[in-house]
């Protein structure tokens, strides 16, 4: 994932928004749409195609991820949490580009000042390098016996 580039427009626009670069994107997006939608026939078709394309183990994993986010969105929107510090700045330009800022639940996150928006744009290219380092550091710190 590190160093690879993906087009995120399909998150808001579906497969009609163009290719993402993710393997089996058509089947994965169709499965996600069918799980979030309410049409049993569409879900049966998406299940059949995803199963054929991904194989049984990966299909179960994809179904689990989809259902997991049916849960997570309701936790976020049911409690009115704002974006976490830093994520707001670093994701500002991509949110604007793919239309997420138009969602009603954006009201739960205070708008960015011009200065913080600019800071986000400056730091954005470094985010993909910074995040793994932070994750590694926090993992080391949580190891039993790690130095404090």
């Amino acid at each position: 994932m590190e160093g690879e580039r993906y087009d995120l427009h399909a998150l808001t626009g579906g497969t009609a928004a163009g290719p993402t670069g993710v393997p089996h994107e058509r089947e994965l997006v169709a499965l996600a749409e069918a799980v979030a939608g309410g049409d049993p026939a569409a879900l049966a078709e998406a299940r059949r195609e995803a199963l054929a394309a991904l194989g049984p183990e990966s299909f179960v994993a994809a179904a689990a991820v989809a259902s997991n986010f049916e849960r997570m969105v309701r936790i976020a929107d049911g409690t009115g949490i704002p974006l976490d510090a830093g994520v707001n700045e670093l994701s500002a330009s991509i949110r604007e580009e793919i239309g997420i800022d138009a969602y009603g639940s954006s009201a739960n996150t205070p708008p960015l000042s011009a200065a913080r928006r600019l800071l986000g744009r400056v730091l954005e290219p470094a985010a993909r390098f910074v995040l793994p380092v932070v994750a590694t550091l926090s993992k080391r710190r949580s190891q039993p016996g790690a130095e404090r």
């Binding site: 996600a32 689990a64 849960r71 309701r74 739960n108 926090s138």
Partner: protein, 243 residues
């Protein structure tokens, strides 16, 4: 035994089955602010909401507030609780702070609200998975008798509508392994710590352990992280979730 998946030819990992069973046991037991019968009744309302005519009409309306009416709820639950369950289950993208405040004014406490939300999202998660797999929803468990614990951790009012746990308290140190900072979504249900425990258990078997989510290198052997995020992001966008 629940969640056997005997009629399913797909490989459901044993740890996933075990987590589902624990979720059912937790659902049936008395919680902190609702007893077992009430918690199972809340779960039944999640399923009723999928067939609810009022919810369908509201979902289709320009504003959910434009459509008045009552859900066909169980007499066991207060009407305010039934409405909250239906709204969260069927139209989460249009919940607002003023709506939340009205639910409190209608008689639900913040603690009851958060525990209710924890029940709703567990049901939504497991039923969505069963629909995706093509299996029937698991029959709801028999409630376990007993009174709610009414245990409330030390709380602070942060950036969310709901209050959440103070990170310096013992309960928070246990929940979050002493982490000095915790992602808002992991802290969101912490007014009811068992709801956080439930979230962590299901996230571990359906997606990733919550402490691995921020690491872009974390993934599954069966699905790459970009594939996982494509599914996660599309589901989130269709629910119009900004977070």
């Amino acid at each position: 035994m629940a969640f056997e998946y005997t009629d399913l030819s797909l490989p459901i990992p044993e740890e996933m089955r075990a987590a589902h069973r624990r979720a059912w046991e937790r659902l049936a037991a008395p919680g902190a602010w609702w007893n077992g019968a009430e918690r199972v009744a809340l779960a039944a309302e999640v399923r009723a909401a999928r067939e609810c005519a009022l919810c369908r009409e509201r979902k289709a309306a320009l504003s959910p507030h434009a459509v008045a009416g009552e859900h066909e709820g169980t007499s066991l639950l207060p009407a305010a609780a039934v409405d909250v369950v239906h709204r969260i289950a069927t139209d989460p993208g249009r919940l607002t702070k003023s709506w939340y405040e009205k639910t409190l004014a209608a008689g639900l406490s913040a603690e009851q609200y958060v525990e209710l939300l924890g029940v709703v999202v567990t049901l939504v998660n497991l039923d969505a998975l069963h629909r995706a797999l093509g299996v029937e929803p698991e029959p709801l468990p028999e409630p376990v008798a007993g009174e709610p614990s009414r245990a409330r951790p030390p709380i602070v009012q942060g950036g969310a509508w709901v209050p959440w746990i103070e990170l310096g308290c013992d309960e928070a140190r246990t929940l979050y392994a002493g982490a000095p900072r915790v992602a808002n979504v992991l802290r969101a249900l912490s007014l009811v710590p068992d709801a956080v425990r439930q979230l962590k258990e299901l996230s571990t078997v359906h997606y990733l352990p919550m402490d691995k989510v921020a690491d872009p290198r974390a993934g599954l052997p069966t699905l790459s992280r970009p594939q996982m995020e494509l599914v996660a992001g599309r589901v989130s966008a269709l629910n119009e979730c900004f977070y």
